[in-house]
Symmetry: C2
Subunit: 161 residues, 2 copies
DNA sequence: TATTGTTATACTCTATAACTATA
DNA sequence: TATAGTTATAGAGTATAACAATA
């Protein structure tokens, strides 16, 4: 069934069957949709993707320099500045000059930052439940295992490149 | 094991374990990586993602208006103009005025456009083999089925939104 | 007046380079 | 001089608005 009815066009936009038959396409489509949806939810809470990434990273411990944070997240140190500014203005992180090397800033979560991180994690967990609700527990486990193998095998563990 | 060794920083960028444990994150990560990798390969052949999308869409048959193509691909009709220009300059598509309504352009693939589409499909098939090589046939089938259920259940069949 | 394709404009992201203060 | 953080600049990509031809 080819694309017809030039006048009756609601936001129909059925995806071509050829593409739905491709596992690669399904993966890309699902990945993009998840990213978009997560970004939407984050924005409702006033955050960008990088701001969440910073909170999540700092949730594992303070980091001694901004350069290191940038490198971990795969972005330039100059881009990171604005991200941190936004978080600092809201009192979620703290920059402290390193007394031993006054060029450096040690960055850490404030107590409020830790609470915010928990809220975001809860939101994302809800999102995951919602996105995967069509799969039973066993299928979810299999999906997770398959994705993990793919990500590791292709060395996609680092930041997007 | 927290992040240490501030001086010894190669492009290490190990992804936090918390994130690797999330199926949603793995999906997003894999999807993004696939999109980036496909885009890279397309660019080597001198195409953008939308140009490929147009070729793939027209591969299923001519379309009577540019507006319809734009709507199918989920972009604005003004954005589509430049995409089509590039394809037309290279002789891969043809715009023909509709004699019954001279505002409209019917767009179709040229023979060379059809050949180019075949080449791109071959390239993407190679990419899929490479990306999924860690999975055996059975796992691939299960992965495909799971992704299909997710995409349909969440109504992610249309263009990215 | 409404619609099709087009052009022009503005806004967001990101990537790069230049600047300062420290070492 | 080299490095950490910052600021400024430029480019791609995209979203919106204005425009000319046709209905």
């Amino acid at each position: 069934m080819s694309i017809e009815s030039p006048e009756i066009h609601q936001p129909s936009t059925a995806t071509p069957k050829e593409l739905l038959a491709s596992t690669l396409f399904l993966l890309a489509r699902a990945g993009m949709a998840i990213k978009t949806r997560t970004l939407d939810e984050l924005e409702k809470a006033g955050f960008g993707m990088y701001q969440y990434s910073v909170l999540a990273l700092l949730g594992e411990g303070d980091l001694p320099t901004q350069r290191l944070i940038a490198s971990e997240l795969g972005l330039d140190r100059s881009q990171l500045v604005g991200v941190l500014d936004g978080l600092e203005e809201r009192g979620l992180i703290m920059r402290r000059r390193d007394p031993d090397d006054r060029r450096r800033h040690t960055v850490s979560l404030t107590p409020e930052g830790k609470r915010e991180l928990v809220r975001i994690r809860t939101m994302i967990a809800r999102l995951e439940d919602s996105a995967l609700k069509a799969l039973d527990g066993e299928s979810r486990q299999a999906l997770h295992a398959a994705l993990e193998r793919i990500v590791v095998d292709n060395d996609w563990c680092g930041p997007a490149r």
